[in-house]
Amino acid sequence: MSYETIKFDVDSDGIALITIDLPDQSMNVWNAQLIEDFEKAVDEVLSNDDIKGAVIASGKESGFMAGADLRMLGDSSENPSVQEVYEGATRLNKLFRKMETGGKASKDLSKGAYTKPFAAAINGLALGGGLEVCLASHYRVASDSPKVQIGLPEVLVGLLPGAGGTQRVPRLAGIQNAMQMCTTGSSMKAEQAKSQNLIHDIVPHDDLVAKAKEWVKANPKVRQPWDEAKFKFPGGQGAMDPRVVPIFAGSAAMAQKQTFHNMPQVDKILSCIYEGSIVPIDVALRIESKYFTSLLLSDQTQNMIRTLFINKQAAEKGMARPKSVDPVKLTKVGVLGAGMMGAGIAYVTARSGMEVVLLDRDVDAAEKGKDYSRKLNDKGISKGKLTKGKSEEMLARIKTTADYDDLKDVDLIIEAVFEDPKVKADVIRKTEAVIGKDVVFASNTSTIPITSLAKNSERPDQFIGIHFFSPVDKMPLVEIIPGDASGDLPLAAALDYVKAIKKTPIVVSDTRGFYCNSVVVPYLNEAARMVKEGINPALIDNCARNLGMPVGPLALMDETSQELGYKIMMSAREEMGDAYQPTGVDDLLEKFVVELGRKGRKSGGGFYEYPEDGGKKYIWPGLKDHFPLADNQPSAEEVEERLLFIQLAAVAKCYSDDVVHDPQSADLGAIFGWGFAPWTGGPMSYIDTIGVEDYVRRADALAQQHGERYAPPASFRKKAEEGGKFYAAA
């Protein structure tokens, strides 16, 4: 018997050791070859009388198994039939079921038949399908390594645990724990998994396989608990038990509270657990496979997998990186300016193991910036996520200074000083005087064109923009902006750096606002314009939430502050002179900032009032005096469409003007930059899914009703006429 992805050894006790070890991969995942090999191995164990049982282990130091290769699921190029997709979706379920029953009927097992034992030796992370094979094993033992992580993260990419996870977890850990685990996708440590009955034991790392074998040897005749005649769900008898009814009723509300009806995979996970808990496991697994299939067949899931998993990983691995440049050494990074952005950049850089030279006007100011890291570390320590020792090591990596000489041996500069061209020019000059010849200078400007900043540099070919979002430690996206003179080196260095701090990069053009802010600003302005039109503000923000935005645009404008909006408007007006095009809310911003003193959440409030006692925010009661409610309110559908399409219009314009170069980046930037409804897979995926023609038609209708700002760009119109999709072309 020959295998490509596993090693199969039988010891003198007749116990097989199935070691999963995918060649040329750092981590094990289920792919077509492994499924085939594993099927053969299970058959061998079951059919060979000399083999008494088996231990499943991993050949990777990195962990047990990370789940399924989503590229396998995401690729549906051949247009298979529903029946074919379903057959494919049942494959692992059938395989695991065969492994746990020995191919015997559940009815016979419940009357006393038994099968050969399989034990899983969990040496590190076991996620998704990697955990599900363990759950189908008769015994699960985990190493005491802190690397052990147990979880079912499928929900995060629009899927459900489709290899028995939604059925075996409730049967082991109870319905409530199963709901939590499957619908949040968060993973747990070995201790918690043990307390939830998901694993049997935790043993020293080096004894792992031996302990698993020991158990197999001692338990030659086994069957799963759910194949026992007297099996009961922990904590209740399944969904028809009156004690369980409130749990399900509550779970539906909690799901809606989180998903706003935008994440069908969450609903289907709950359905799997509910329906599956009423029937025997064989039927339950069939139900799970059907719901899993329904997700695989949906555009929404495919879009989510494509953007949130495949394209995100590709971007993080450096999709846009010039291959000619060798990896850029990044052991020490100079961060110029210790204000809010600089402090955040220093934090994420040091957290990732790099040394940081944090420079500001004087050491006190730099220390103030470092306090940000101290504060976040203390929070981490109090939550048990960080040890004191680790925190001290991390803080020791941040050197605060006011002396430019301290920058002489850094590998990269990130400048985050005050947004004033003169200040920046001075800093560039002083820095370039001390740093090494090949060191890349990156500016975190959000308002000044990189090309014009680079004019202050003696080596504009090594100059680039790295645009972070605030708060830096939380926001996952980074925009990288090459200037006209930027060469390959700064782009490679920027991408290597973003990879090192584990954020998601997109490369965009050097235009005012770059990509994300070019969409966010008109989106927020549209919401403010709706207030001016007399639309109920609660309706506006609630509709945005219903759409899948993480916060309403009015609440978001309060956060980013009316004052900032006002300043951007004033500077654009000044800069552009006669060419300035009013936003439609210039007067509203002026009223809020100048007349009402409502400059934003942190300064006088905004659309909302923020009680000083930390109570829930509520809409400022005075708002209706200045912007009276219209007698005729639009429907929720109309408001949602406007909020969605104003963003699509801005994205389409950016794409059309090549501010963002490909649909992948446009989608990643939207979701991770400003929280564009993740269920869509991003605005370009959404337009592809509804069809470019439908997009253009609806955008035109909105333009006619509300203004030209909704109109699709000419290139989209052309695309609509020609047919086809943006992604297919990309």
Binding site: V245, A249, S251, D267, L539
Partner: protein, 402 residues
């Protein structure tokens, strides 16, 4: 088509629906059997003439399960030929049962039938039957299902009904119920409940509190605020009603219907059978209707079923002299009064479920008997009886005196 007439209407008093309630020792079958016995005995009825008994029951499980109507028919010693069927239209079950009895008479299927209902909420508590509507995530999520109390609070929020409005309504309901009892206005319908020894255990509605005032009600905490936050039904409500910034939780135990035990029965028959048996009809069933309405707000069905019924019957609002709407929650009645432009003096004139309780499967027949008694007492002609219903429905009946 034949006309259907009401020949009699009886109900038990309502006992507090808790283990310390007077009727907790009485099985639901006994409750139902006692009202059937009363119908028979009061009218000296040869029960061979009763073709069918239709009883509402909202928790038809356990001792209320397996067709409690046929069970009660057998226990009440009706003729073996009298059939029995159980129906569940949630809170309007007994009115629906009466409408079905009337329909059977009108269609000629039956000469005489009994509609009514029973619910021992102390013995078979709410929620005992589970049900996909609340527990199956596919159903609950698709339809934005929230508990009824949240729905009542959505009504209050959406239609500007304040806590004070709701409390003031409740105070008045208690006053009216107390006065009605004092004046013996329910006397004609009440059948005191007896125990297995034949001794009386309850002869009055147990939960009426005539001393209720705004201050007492003001001290009660809202009942549904917690559920709104965790697991989060308010968020579900706002997703369905995004025009609402938040949900005002105005309802509490004092301005919502009480949990009680009880049973009721309405004897319905054709004109001919009444003449044959020498029975005098008390009212004619003029019109009946049911309707579905938006399920999240759930409890606004009465408005829509009223419009539907009036239209189908070719009637007008001013043809109705007396209005009776189940007091499931104060906001339900207050919204109905708003929508139908009614004054409180025209509706629920003898109080309602906020004071006397709402034995879910039986209430429809109870308030029908209350309306009939009131028509006779006041000399009015026509009454419209309606209830709000779980899942978003409304059922209504118009009766007129003959």
């Amino acid at each position: 088509m034949a006309d259907a007439y009401i020949y009699d209407a009886v109900r038990t008093p309502r006992g507090k629906g808790k283990p310390d309630g007077a009727l907790h020792e009485i099985t639901p079958v006994q409750l139902a059997a006692q009202v059937l016995e009363a119908v028979r005995d009061r009218n000296d009825l040869d029960t061979e003439n009763v073709d069918d008994v239709i009883l509402g029951c909202v928790m038809p499980v356990g001792e209320q399960g397996a067709n409690i109507a046929r069970t009660a028919v057998l226990q009440a010693d009706y003729a073996q030929t009298t059939a029995g069927v159980h129906v569940n239209r949630f809170c309007a079950s007994a009115l629906e049962a009466t409408n079905m009895a009337a329909a059977k008479v009108m269609s000629g299927e039956a000469d005489m039938a009994i509609g009514g209902g029973v619910e021992s909420m102390s013995r078979v508590p709410m929620g005992s039957d589970g049900g996909a509507m609340v527990s199956d995530p596919a159903v609950a999520i698709k339809n934005y299902i929230v508990p009824q109390g949240i729905s009542a609070d959505i009504i209050a929020t959406k239609y500007g009904i304040s806590r004070d409005d709701a409390d003031a309504y409740a105070v008045e309901s208690q006053k009216r119920a107390a006065k009605a009892w004092e004046e013996g206005r329910f006397k004609g319908s009440i059948v005191p409940v007896k125990d297995v020894l034949g001794l009386p255990v309850l002869d009055h509605d147990e939960t009426v509190r005539p001393d209720t005032d705004m201050q007492k009600l003001g001290s009660l905490n809202p009942s549904f605020a917690m559920l709104g936050e965790m697991p989060g039904f308010d968020y579900v409500a706002i997703q369905k009603y995004p025009e609402l910034e938040k949900i005002n939780h105005v309802h509490h135990a004092g301005n919502s219907s009480g949990i009680v035990d009880g049973a009721a029965a309405i004897l319905v028959g054709s004109k001919e059978i009444g003449e044959k048996l020498g029975l005098k009809p008390r009212a004619k069933i003029r019109a009946m209707a049911s309707v579905g309405s938006e399920p999240t707000i759930m409890l606004t069905g009465p408005e829509f079923v009223t419009q539907k019924l009036l239209k189908r019957a070719g009637m007008d609002k001013k043809d109705i002299d007396l209005w009776e709407l189940n007091e499931a929650f104060a906001s339900v009645v207050l919204r109905y009064m708003q929508a139908m432009d009614l004054d409180h003096s025209e509706i629920n004139v003898n109080g309602g479920a906020i004071a006397m309780g709402h034995p879910m499967g039986a209430t429809g027949a109870m308030i029908l008997s209350t309306a009939l008694d009131e028509l006779e007492r006041s000399g009015k002609e026509t009454a419209l009886v309606t209830l709000c219903i779980g899942g978003g429905m409304g059922t209504a009946t118009v009766i007129e005196r003959v």
